[in-house]
Subunit: 430 residues, 2 copies
């Protein structure tokens, strides 16, 4: 792949760099793959069309663009191609689950009973969150549930001003974009929680934190303030499970738990019945419920994970039947490789490694966040995202997270091939 295309990519990146979008870098990536109108376009399109059936992304090789912008959890595919994969297969006949309804007796009437059962079972197994006494809601990914929670917690319309939505910086880059894109009169992004003054707010608490992996608690303490706990990464592969959390609203997603991002299934544990009802109303109005096919599949996947621990399936040796142990080992190896590359390079730094006693692993383990919060202090590198892009590594700039441009967020959960090329390139940068 020639130097011209590298330049082209940078130019494109600069051109659309002013747009804020969840998929900003994806757009760049796709635009680039489509050839951006240059002579190579035809070849590029053909290459992009030759996608693996499970990911839609073309395979990478040593000189490929490596896209680590999204936390696309394809690293877990290897586990599901192992002995547990077949157990997680779903078969859906043509006549099944045609109705809008899953259980008219449930507050969340479109929630498949099997999914609710497996969600509760998984939390009992892992011990990361209290599910008993909570309402379970299903969403099209946890970001839809995040919006449902904003809708439910915001004072009803007619209030003088939209309520302020805050999160301590660095905060997940989607929070401001998703909060504000419809210019709702109910709520409005108000930035860094640490800089917020006032008593009326909704604080978004992402723990472990996307982007930096830190364990967070609400920083604001007003009695009238409210909190939404985004616990997408509170699973044993990413961090020691130190407490069974029991917050008012807790959000999870199969995407980060098992790696099935494409199923778009998240769930919320909600303590208060009225809040759960209002969140459910959001889900009704926004999408009239949630894909049943994905719910059936997510239920099967979670069942397989729990069975791996509780029923010792035949034919699986080592940690091949133990998703969290397998994934924790993989993540640990990746973090070791990344720290070695950072040391070899000498121009980067990472947050300090932290460890704690994990009640699930029953051992002291290190945290292995799903993202690396990578900083570069080399003189002349004022825009780390742009610098890495020149090396054909696509990451997300700290500026998107309320931080500075000398830091980027890098996905740690992409394929082995992509990750390996990334650390090799990183180690070689001086």
């Amino acid at each position: 792949m020639g130097r011209d295309q590298g330049d082209g990519l940078v130019a494109i990146a600069g051109r659309i760099g002013v747009v804020t979008s969840v998929a900003l870098n994806l757009a760049v990536f796709a635009f680039y793959l489509r050839g951006a109108g240059d002579k190579e376009a035809g070849k590029k399109v053909k290459k992009a069309a030759a996608v693996a059936p499970s990911s839609g992304k073309p395979p990478v090789c040593a000189d490929s663009i490596i896209n680590l912008d999204h936390g696309d959890p394809t690293m877990f595919e290897a586990f599901w191609r192992g002995p547990m994969g077949e157990r997680a297969t779903v078969v859906i006949p043509g006549w099944q689950t045609m109705s809008y309804f899953s259980d008219v007796g449930n507050l969340c009437w479109f929630l498949e009973p099997g999914l609710e059962r497996e969600v509760r079972r998984l939390h009992r197994l892992v011990g990361n969150a209290a599910a008993e006494g909570y309402h379970v809601l299903v969403g099209t990914g946890s970001m839809q549930l995040f919006q449902a929670a904003l809708y439910a917690l915001a004072p009803p319309g007619g209030a003088a001003a939209p309520i302020s939505i805050v999160s301590p910086a660095p905060f997940y880059s989607s929070y401001p974009a998703v909060t504000d894109f419809l210019k709702s009169g109910l709520y409005r992004w108000a930035g860094d929680a640490n800089a917020f003054e006032g008593d009326e707010y909704i604080e978004l608490v992402c723990s472990p934190s996307n982007p930096d992996g830190g364990i967070r608690e609400a920083v604001l303490k007003s009695k009238s303030g409210k909190a939404i706990h985004d616990l997408a990464y509170y699973w044993p592969q990413y961090t020691p499970i130190t407490h069974m959390l029991a917050h008012d609203i807790m959000l999870f997603t199969v995407s980060k738990c098992t790696g099935h991002a494409g199923t778009r299934i998240g769930w919320a544990l909600v303590k208060d019945r009225e809040v759960a009802q209002k969140m459910n109303k959001y889900l009704e109005l926004n999408t009239i419920g949630v894909s049943k096919d994905s719910q059936l599949r997510a239920a099967k996947i979670l069942e397989t994970v729990a069975d791996g621990y509780e029923r010792q399936p035949a034919g699986a040796t080592g940690d091949a039947s133990l998703l969290f142990h397998y994934a924790q080992r993989q993540m640990m190896q990746r973090w070791r490789a990344l720290r070695a590359a950072v040391t070899a390079s000498g121009i980067f730094s990472l947050p300090d490694e932290v460890a704690g006693f994990c009640t699930f692993a029953k051992d002291t383990v290190t945290a292995n966040p799903a993202f690396a919060w990578l900083r570069c202090d080399k003189e002349g590198v004022d825009d780390l995202e742009g610098f890495l892009r020149e090396h054909k590594i696509i990451t997300r700039s700290g500026t998107r997270f309320g931080a500075d441009p000398k830091v980027v967020r890098v996905s740690m959960v992409d394929t082995d091939e992509a990750f390996s090329i990334f650390v090799d390139r990183l180690a070689a940068m001086k």
Copy 2:
């Protein structure tokens, strides 16, 4: 089922009658099933739990509450339990479609290529809409795409005032609720298009019309106005296909086409690339794409429908392999039964029957709308929804559609059992 419970239901209905919700009547229904705290509660819960795996709704018997509020298309289940059903089975192994991405080279990067192919193929087969030269977008049902279209067509933020969203009355009851629930600064519900004055608007054109089945065209003609065509019911079982439509934005859903509401898959055909990109951005921000499992299933279902016409599958006789012919025959029989019941009763009326030459059926056929727009002119019946509710028939009041309370919308696509009990009860009302 005792008279007390009947009274209880009416009382509950009255109590929550002030709330506006897509699932208003569902809430009543579910609340009732849960027993509303009375002595029968235990029994009711058990009954509700014994749901059919495919619908989540309890079976009905002669004295059941019949819920025809939603257009829950369960009537098509019988077709999919026939010889074509097995062909439509999907098998999804544990490792498949884990990534967020389906095709990074496509504007709609989360659209499964197989679904796009089958959508285009189906439109070629049916001839109801031009797909060539259009972008295909997938949504979590067509209502998510409706919101995406509002977002894409509204002037970008910073404009003086939200753009007016209008639709000629009677309009689909979800339009105002879905347009306004987040109090967006981009757009605002402005009611009946026929009463609208001004040049800046987005008109929602639902054809055939939900609720009344009429064929509609945009009523407003300003050059600067925009239109969204909601064609959920423009399929041969509901109405003769008289034209291949080619509007700027056309919305469809598998829910009404094949009966698979639970898959939550809709699609949009969009002429303009920039509009398609902006709609896609909505889908990224709202739900980071759309369930791949449901997309794979929808692709398989649409493939099976087209194969039924184009590949004459073995083992299927009559119209058992021809979804639209089968469904058209069923709908025609239901409409005959309904018109007979209305005649027998003497207190109701329906819109006149209309017919036209269907280019798909190559014959003159009557329209058989998915909803009956039922009017009652009996003296003393000022609230038809309430009147029918006393007869344990749940419908949706005309007031929700910008019409009067002497009319209701009744689903014509529920199960055979529910429909049959409904017409029997209706015929007996004097």
